[in-house]
């Protein structure tokens, strides 16, 4: 007699907890059929995040910002490396998630998960390098000690890519948090389950609650509230590509009201294209959410 398996309820990740949507809504998530014409397989009822969930997530992210940004770079690096360790220990689940989400062969799914874990490790190592690469002493023409260093900008809203459900997701979250920002992430609408598994890794790897908040649901519904939110400092519009009903131009316009730092989606002109996440990332993914602070002090005897 075969055992009846215990299935998981997929929920949001806000402030280190796993709440359902305050709206009590959910939506059906299906696996991409492995062959054409096959009937889509039901995977889960994911939480359908609402405007209120997004606002709660911003509050959680703001609350987590002072602690996370004041942590030593060494500490942040260790915590983020720990995330990669936990991801590795959940490799089998990630492979299943990514296969279902993206319709990949087992071998391709393995490769994607490996790349995602390696990407996380790559970013973790940046935490205590950024200040040395991006900052330094300014040789001013006068008797002053003058130094510039990068600082996190604050709370960053992230529209995660729609297609690349794990590698893409990792590639947009890690560059935000490695420098001390906190994140509110809207996951892929149709492929949200790898994000929930990632949330479980974050929750069990010393990342303080609220540093990363994950909202499953539709960018068209949630993103406008994040783009216009006065307590959000920056927004990544990468996931606007192929998100139904999302206009990145409108989101950028809303973001202008409090001069959010905006990372535009890939592509040219009005078109938004999801980038190739297998390529080595550019520094600009991190610098988009960094401020430069310059401190002057006189020298004298």
């Amino acid at each position: 007699m075969s055992r009846v398996d215990v299935r998981k309820t997929y929920k949001l990740y806000i402030g280190g907890a796993f709440p359902r949507s305050e709206s009590a809504r959910s939506y059906e998530v299906y696996a991409v059929p492995s062959r054409a014409g096959a009937r889509p397989r039901f995977l889960a009822n994911a939480s359908l995040a609402s405007r209120k969930d997004a606002r709660n997530a911003v509050v959680a992210a703001r609350k987590a910002f002072p602690g996370w940004s004041a942590a030593t770079a060494y500490n942040r690096g260790q915590v983020l490396y720990r995330v990669a360790e936990v991801m590795e220990s959940r490799r089998a689940q990630f492979v299943t998630d990514v296969r279902d989400a993206e319709g990949l062969t087992p071998a391709r799914a393995e490769a994607v998960v490996s790349a995602a874990i390696d990407r996380w490790v790559w970013y973790a190592g940046w935490s205590d390098k950024l200040a040395q690469v991006l900052g330094g002493l300014n040789p001013v023409a006068g008797p002053f000690f003058d130094i510039s260093a990068p600082e996190p900008t604050g709370v960053v809203a992230v529209l995660a890519p729609q297609a690349s459900s794990l590698l893409g997701l990792v590639s947009v979250i890690a560059p935000v948090v490695v420098s001390g920002n906190t994140a509110v992430v809207v996951t892929s609408a149709d492929r949200p389950l790898p994000a929930v598994t990632l949330a479980e890794c974050l929750a069990t790897s010393d990342v303080p609650g609220g540093v990363v908040n994950l909202l499953t649901g539709r960018a068209a519904e949630i993103a406008p509230w994040l783009a216009s939110h006065r307590d959000v400092n920056a927004i990544d519009l990468t996931g606007a590509a192929d998100a139904p009903g999302v206009s990145w131009a409108e989101l950028e316009a809303a973001a202008a009201d409090n001069l959010k730092r905006v990372l535009r989606p890939g592509g040219s002109g009005a078109e938004a294209v999801e980038p190739d996440f297998t390529a080595t990332p550019a520094l600009s993914r991190m610098t988009a959410y960094l401020e430069t602070k310059t401190v002057w002090h006189p020298k004298g005897r």
């Binding site: 001013v140 900008t153 590639s171 001069l259 009005a270 550019a282 430069t292 310059t294």
Partner: protein, 482 residues
């Protein structure tokens, strides 16, 4: 206190030759504007008309952008970095050679004291060109990302408070990185930009690399909206900065915005008081307080508040307000009737809201736009004079008890451009510097600027940096990020 009268020591105006009217500078030559209405630029210290200046229409802006595009494609983007750098070195030297002429002209058109234009604006402008000249052939060493390339044509709109210096902050890095520019100076201070056009001619800078279009908001809007502009750089008010961010949303135009501020200048009880008083004075009265990073909120620790305010007032009695061309003048004229009205209005609001107003009552010239250095005490966080940028010689004094309270008050503003900290305790300086959400922190000094030192704000003070290696980032595109 005995009073010592100073004999007048005016700088000679003879070094400046003013034309009755000025045209636009497009494609290397001065050309008539098409259709706009010429406007007068006046000396704010006397209200005399200095010259008539052309107003660039949208069609003129289009001509300028096309000239810049042609210069970019055919000449400037193909030139080696070393050669671009040599043109910038030439410009730096020409500015130095004609420095007195620029200083006097700037003082005439802007109203700021000659000692500031002579010792700060003009030498720093030359230094910016000299600094960036050296970057032009070294961009691949600047950690800007793989294969840094220019954007193309850059539209630049600058304010009236440091007309030549802001021009230098904008044009020097843009040209060093291989872009060409269309620049609009402020409508009340266009003359040094037009004199700079002559410098471009003397340097034999290829035509179209620098284009200067004069006009007011409509001309600026035409630059922002022009589809041929690849990147915008703006210094000015936060309100206009937001309009620009809004206007380019959904396009691929990039922008750097250098906007308003409401800096806290924080004095701890162990501060070197004499230096701190000088720092407060230069923080708020440098350039009549018409500075985005002005230390307009004095946060002083409660235990020394009375003494600091008393000594500060005594120091104000010694400030010389008057003829900007006089070499002994400390505080000059307000730039325009409009700005004077804004300052006057906000100061009246300060009184109406219950803050206590004080000034020296010193005599002011009969003509021109003048505002006495003014200090408000008994100011609370909610007063408009503690929240809004006044952009004038008006200081609001607030007090605090603990470092934590100082930080909370200093950061309680949508702005985040600069801040000052005065204390002899080194560890407290570094802690404060970490806590303050501002782009520039001056510790035991204030209002220092240098081409090597990045300048720019957090939050609603804008984004992007000017100066230093960081300033180059605004003028290059790199490989598309994954």
């Amino acid at each position: 206190m005995p009073t010592f009268d100073y004999a007048p020591a005016p700088e000679s105006r003879s070094v400046v030759t003013l034309a009755p009217s000025y045209d636009l500078f497009i494609n290397g030559e001065f050309v008539d504007a098409s259709g706009g209405t010429p406007f007068a630029t006046i000396n704010p210290a006397t209200e005399e008309t200095l010259a008539m200046v052309a107003e660039a229409s949208a069609a003129d802006v289009d001509r300028a952008v096309k000239a810049a595009r042609t210069a970019y494609t055919r000449v400037w983007s193909r030139m080696s970095g070393a050669d671009r750098g040599k043109y910038l070195y030439r410009i730096a030297r020409l500015l130095q050679e004609r420095s007195r002429e620029f200083a006097v002209l700037e003082t005439l058109d802007n109203g700021k004291p000659i000692k500031e234009t002579r010792d700060v604006d003009v030498p720093l402008a030359a230094a910016h060109f000299f600094y960036h000249a050296g970057w032009a052939d070294k961009l691949e060493y600047a950690t800007l990302g793989a294969n840094p390339r220019p954007y193309g044509v850059v539209g630049q709109v600058i304010p009236w408070n440091f007309p030549l210096l802001m021009l230098a902050w904008k044009i020097a890095p843009a040209l060093a990185c291989g872009n060409t520019v269309v620049l609009k100076p402020a409508e009340t201070t266009p003359l040094t930009a037009l004199l700079f056009a002559e410098i471009c001619q003397q340097a034999e800078l290829p035509p179209g690399v620098v284009n200067i279009v004069t006009g007011a908001g409509a001309t600026g809007q035409a630059i922002v909206d022009h589809p041929g502009i690849d990147k915008l750089a703006f210094t000015g008010s936060t309100a206009v900065g937001k309009m620009i961010a809004h206007a380019i949303a959904g396009t691929r135009k990039k922008a750097t915005l250098e906007l308003g501020g409401k800096a806290a200048n924080i004095i701890f009880d162990d501060a070197p008081i004499d230096q701190a008083i000088e720092g407060i004075v230069s923080g708020i009265f440098f350039n009549q307080g018409q500075v985005c990073c002005a230390g307009s909120r004095l946060l002083v620790q409660e235990s020394i508040a009375e003494e600091v305010v008393r000594r500060f007032k005594r120091r104000l009695e010694t400030l010389r307000v008057g003829d900007p061309l006089d070499k002994n003048t400390d505080v000059g004229a307000i730039n325009s009737a409009r700005q004077l009205a804004r300052i006057t209005e906000l100061a009246a609001v300060g009184e109406a809201e219950g803050a206590v107003r004080w000034d020296t009552g010193c005599p002011l010239p009969k003509n021109g736009f003048w505002f006495r250095p003014t200090v408000f005490t008994e100011v609370s966080q909610s007063h408009r004079i503690a929240q809004e940028e006044i952009f004038g010689p008006v200081l609001s004094v607030l007090t605090f008890r603990t470092p934590g309270e100082a930080v909370a008050k200093a950061n309680n503003t949508p702005y985040g451009l600069s801040a000052g900290v005065w204390t002899e305790k080194g560890s407290r300086i570094l802690w404060m510097a970490d806590q303050l959400r501002a782009g520039v922190i001056w510790a035991n000094t204030f209002n220092r600027f240098d081409p090597t030192s990045p300048f720019g704000g957090y939050k609603e003070s804008g984004y992007g940096r000017e100066g230093g290696r960081h300033g180059l980032e605004a003028y290059v595109r790199t490989e598309v990020s994954a």
